[in-house]
Each structure stands twice: as structure tokens, then as C-alpha cells.
Symmetry: C2
């Protein structure tokens, strides 16, 4: 395809769609039939519907972020992530972020900044992640993660994060929240 002017870029039209697998509430697999702007039809464009989730970069007053070591089945290894979780039905993203931070780590924070909301896979969808920076984080209860994971909380100095991006961080949500948060803070990790 040749290059277009910005005003010429058009959306695809979804002509029909069919659900191949219903694995609610975790995911639904769809196959879309789409019409491209030039009129071509693509009969099998796959999309994956998943619940939205939140990811939280929670800084305490000593410039330490609340990190979580956990096994994740996507990368299939123990790795460094951050408080995160799926939105509950009808829940807004900030409420979910406060809830997940508290449930997973026992931390609360008063100063919340929305870093952005992004579709996980540009082609397939896979839900959206809502990214937050929380400042003034402090622990007021024990961690009580209510899911399948065993976790280890580690407070990590922001200045020590960069070497962890290769080797310890294994998931895109964790890498993205480090990059977005350090950028928002005007810090080099």
C-alpha cells in the first residue's frame, strides 16, 4: 500500500463477526469479517476479547516503588511485576487500581495520576490496560492477594530499576509502567 495523508486514513468496517470460543469471564475469541478502505474483504481477522486491567506504579516517600515477584504463566517464569489486576464488572479504572493495590500489597496512596490507557494488542485487542502512578504510598495492612498467585513484595529504589528491565522484568505491562512512570516523573531509572 502507498502512503496516505493523515486525513485520508480510514477505519476498517466490520461487516460480520462470529464468536469462535466463549471462555467468559477470561476471554472470547472472535473472527471478524472486515472491509478495508480500498474495498478488499478480509474474512478471517481474529480478535480476542478480554476484561480491562489496571497496572500500578506505587511510590513511597523514599522514592521506592512497590514491586512484586511472582510466577506468571504467560512468560512461564518467576519475574518482577507490579500490582495489577482485572476490573470487576462495572468498576471504573481508578477504583480498580486502588482496590488491587490494597488487596495485593496492603498499600494505600492518596496521590493518583492516570498515565494512559492502551489496547494490549494492536491487531487482536486483548482488552485495555489502564496505567497509574500513585505517590505517597504506605502500607496499612498485610498483603492479602485473593487469586492464584504467591507473591513476594520488594520495595525497589527507582534509581535501581533500569538494570531489572532485562532479565527480571518479563511482561510488557511491567516494562511499560516502568517506562511511563519514569517518563512522567522526569526521572532516568
Amino acid at each position: 500500500m502507498s502512503e496516505k495523508s493523515l486525513g485520508e486514513l480510514q477505519c476498517w468496517e466490520t461487516v460480520a463477526r462470529r464468536k469462535l470460543v466463549d471462555a467468559s469471564p477470561w476471554l472470547n475469541l472472535w473472527v471478524d469479517e472486515v472491509r478495508l478502505p480500498d474495498g478488499r474483504i478480509v474474512r478471517d481477522f481474529y480478535t480476542v476479547e478480554q476484561p480491562d486491567h489496571v497496572v500500578i506504579f506505587a511510590l513511597d516517600d523514599a522514592d521506592r516503588v512497590v514491586g512484586l515477584w511472582h510466577y506468571k504463566h504467560g512468560p512461564a517464569c518467576v519475574n518482577l511485576g507490579f500490582p495489577a489486576g482485572y476490573l470487576m464488572p462495572g468498576e471504573d479504572a481508578l477504583t480498580a487500581a486502588r482496590r488491587e493495590l490494597f488487596e495485593e500489597t496492603g498499600y494505600v496512596a492518596d496521590d493518583w495520576q492516570h498515565l494512559g490507557s492502551y489496547t494490549v494488542d494492536g491487531n487482536r485487542g486483548n482488552g485495555r490496560g489502564h496505567y497509574f502512578l500513585a505517590r505517597g504510598a504506605r502500607q496499612t495492612a498485610q498483603a492479602e492477594p485473593d487469586d492464584l498467585e504467591e507473591i513476594r513484595i520488594e520495595l525497589i529504589k527507582v534509581a535501581d530499576l533500569n538494570p531489572l528491565l532485562k532479565g527480571s522484568v518479563a511482561t510488557l505491562d511491567a516494562a511499560a509502567v516502568i517506562g511511563l512512570a519514569l517518563n512522567a516523573l522526569g526521572l532516568k531509572g
Copy 2:
């Protein structure tokens, strides 16, 4: 679950797995039966197998990044992204990054830095993204993207990126490569 020491964190064991949908080469949907470290069995943990992909933050000598405006069917809107694409079978990530940058934009670059490789979805998998910073980028040919997309190339000053993170950037790979690249450059966007 209660908190563990880092040394106590164990991997899950995949006891059995079954392919629910084979939509090669785009994706395969699997359902895994896994055994947790505490012995519990989860019979329906869904994973999505997708090809790995590359994402490239290509800077020219005037500190402008090669941005791409395009429609993406995941967020279902025209949005700002960056050169990116799937690895071909047997291709290594850096080779794919050089190829995708050239095919999509006509740009080449000599100075390549690997920013990290990350599993797209911590739970489901969805392949891995390999992130690159390319410096000294220059256009040596016309853009010839060989896929479904119509694109508009825009050179964007790095200092102008931050306002675009909300509203113009819609996909996690684009947000992540901005955060990771600015962090690697020691710049605030």
C-alpha cells in the same frame, strides 16, 4: 495466599494442554491444566500463542522519531504507532526489526540498541515483543508496507511525544516503546 520469600516462589507445572483453536499463523488458543505450588489443580487456564513481533523507535539525527499513523483493528481507530511487525519463521529479532523499519518506512539505521523483550500478556502469553532503539535513522527509499495497512509517516520531535501519550497513542506497544526509549535516552519527552 500469603506472602512468600523470593526463594520460595515456584513455577506452575503444566500437567496437560489442549489446543482449542488452530488459527495458524496468526494465533492458537490453548487450554492448560496446571498444578499450583500448593498442589491445587486449575483445569482451564487459557493461553494464546502468537508469533513474536518487533517494535522500533527510530531516531533521526535531528532527534525526531519515525512515527506512523495507521488504523489498527485492536483499538478500532486511527492512532499513532511506530514501525513494527511479526518475525518471519526462523528470523531473529534484530533482523526483523531492520526489515520492518525499511519495509514500512524506507528508513535504515546503523546504531541499534535492544531495549528488552517482553511477553505481551502476563497471563495468556500472546507472543513476545522485542523492543529496539535505532539511532541515526535516514530514509533511503520510499515506504512500501506490504500488508493490510494504509499509513502516514510523521517525524515527531522527541520533546513533543508526551502530550501524544493520551489521545493519539492507543496501543500498549506504542506507549511502551516511547517510555522505554525515552528512559534509555535519559530524556523526558
